[in-house]
Amino acid sequence: MKKVQSEAVVGNGQTLLSKKTGMQRFKIYMKRYWQLYAMLALPMIYLVIFKYYPMNFITIAFKDYKFNRPVFKMPWASVKGEIDLLKHFKAAMKPDFYSALRNTVTLNLLDLFFGFPAPIIFALILNELPFRKFKKFVQTVAYMPHFLSWVIIYGLVCILFQPDGPAGGVINTLLVKNGMAAIPFLDDPSHWIGTYVLVGVWQSFGWGSIIYLAAIAGINPELYEAASVDGAGRLKKMWHITLPGIKSTIVVLLIMNIGGIVGGAFDRIYAMQNPVVLSVADTLSTFVYRIGLSSSYPKFEQTTAVGLFQSVVGLFFLLGANKISRKLGERGIW
């Protein structure tokens, strides 16, 4: 041990090290940095258990599911004795699937269009506020909805947006009382989409702005001072300093969002949908839940097939977006 230390101290350690064999170099390297790897171990174990190990079960998509057997012992999917690995993909990809796919992409694109810029704009505005206390207050209030579960949010949405009449929504009751027509916020497919997207923006813009505020805080204040000296106003500073300063953060988050364009969380859509708007509100995640878990005839193979499809398409979107961003001179996600 002492020998190694002394070697490292003596003059040019680099050349000394390079003379050693690979194994020895590895040992020295590990001796120095093993704590870092030990720290890395925990998240790695997490990934292995919860992300890599479950990948075994992807094979369910190609098998005939049996309750009483481990996955690797289930028989391959077959039709009348002949193995047909794509059986469950064919069975799942019926009109319902395509309408769910279309709805997923539509809702996610709308979310991206309205939901993605909202936290950026909010962060920019917040950054310009001069009163610290007021700023903190606004920030906290805006975070709040993020901590509510979607079921509770839906409860609030119902109270506000339900049709008029018994146990009716506040807004429609007021409208009708004042002689105006009720608005079918939750009953009409196109209105429902609007409600869905806006409630989503309301729930997440505050929380989403945190990362941008952090990025803004990292911008060198001297840049602003220099710009002021050059006579730049607020808007100019925003446009020429703040936005370019957080551009790479924006790009990374945009890539991640595009990767999730065929994905999407389950709880939000499930809490907010109702039978009347199912034609626009059934997304892949609720489709999977309905045919897989809550169905009288669970079809685990088909839901796995749909899940696999989502992951593969998501991966292509992610890689594509990453490639484009690198072509445009941005950093990308790696």
């Binding site: 309750f67 009449g165 018994p166 146990a167 009953d187 009347v276 169905s295």
Partner: protein, 581 residues
Amino acid sequence: MKRKLVALLLAATMVISLAACGDKKTGDSSSQQSSGSSSSSSSSSSSSSSSSSSSAQTEVKNDPSNGELVNGKFVKTRKITVEVYDRSGKVAADDNAWTDWIKKQMLDRYNVEVSFKTVPRWTEKDAINTLLASGDAPDICYTYEYPTIQSYANMDGIIDLNPLLEQYKSLLPNLWAWLGDENIYYDQDPKTGTVWAIEGRRNNTYRINTFIRQDWLDKLNLKTPTTMAEFETAIKAFRDNASKLLGKDAGQMVPFLLTSDVGWTAAPIIESFIDPNITDKELYVTGFDDRKYTVAGTKEAVKVLNKWYNDNLLWKSFHLHQDGDSAGDDLCKAGYVGAFIQNYDYPYRNNEDSINALLAKNVDPNAKFVAINCFQDKNGKYTHYSYSAAGDRKTFFPATNKEPLASLLYVEFISSPEVIQYLQIGEEGINHKVHDNGAIEIIPVDDAHVRYNQLGGNNIDLTITCNGLRLSTPELTHLSMALSYAGSDPQDVANAMAVAEKDAVAPIHVNVGEITAESEGSDLTGKRNAGFTQSVICPTSDFDKTWDDAMKAYMQSGGKAIQDEREAAWKENFGNKTNLN
């Protein structure tokens, strides 16, 4: 060095626990086949050690349990788990006076240790699907829908009960006495002979009723409706006199409460539009859905609902509240609802928390719902479907069940007349009192005996093979039925039973084996509910288009396939006959 060791150890534990997870599943799979043989070998060794006389050996030979049972008790304590619905009642469904009693009885009688596993009532399918997939399902499960069980069977998820029933029949006298061959073999596959589930039995077949606020009718000088036209007049009168009936709450008025389960909360209306002379064949082919979605006539019934919706006679937000949501009940309890359709005893259920008891307590001592018959078919009769006595909850054993005999003995136990009676009426003085004529009246449970609150009316969630009050004699049962709802007027209950019985038609039972299309259609129930609700709330001018479009989508997603397969199966089994009898 120490830290390294700890890290290594941690890593090792992770790897081992992962491996253990995998092992558990393999263990489960092989256990099912081997369980019978392994348990019998262990027991035979114990019996041979006790005595080797020839008489004892012949006894063992005649004993269907292969000596596992001595004097009807297991030599070694067995452990089983039993599903119980959780309806978020006053006591924990798996920890109360009744479960304690059952545990003790099972231990005393059979040396079987019972534990209960709760499954939420309104999301039971999600729960059981998940439990089966993870290998954690209770040893004894039950559900109401047979095709679900068939699909579990197709995935090797459950045990065929046929050989077990044959082997152990002599040990199950009460089960046979109560259910009989009819219920036990109700779902036996005519081709393969498999029995995936045992059907429970209904001791009464009352199904559904229409209820109306008697005090509102009185206030408005209306007579009790006996036709649909009169019913419509009544609910319109409720709507138009909202301020008289509800005062400042006039805006809350719901003349007729429809819920998101349209096919259920409008069933008598729908059934009155179905041709009363419909053939068994047509009913079998088109009536596969228990809400009669595809039966001819249903469309006309929903058209009426659509008219009512657009006439402000229904609750406008009904479709936003799904199964298990209490919002509709709350409106009834708050006194805002004029009429509704539900289970035949719905306003009387839950004793002092029942709709009628709360109405009388919070709204007006005279306020109450009474059952009426007013939806006539084209012949002027109040045709509506009842339940069939055979066929209720279906009890099945998952493939992970390692104690099929102990589980069967539990079903035997829970089908014993004295057990059913005790669970249904509870303890004298706490749950019931006995009238001079022997009739048993259910009384509210006081706060000191909270653990004695029943799980559903008459502990229905525990008496898994019996639905409906069943006392020692049919006469006593009849005397006590109307008294079995604490907090409600027995006369109202008796009336509800009479109304439910009038012109009721028993459903037909057709068993032609598996209809494979039934488990292949994707989420037909969801499509059906969507079709119903959309057609109710659309503008009247769009009704035909909305209904037809939804029906087309439903038929394309599997409805047509089921009808075709049923039609073919009918032909194969019954030829050109259109009626069974």
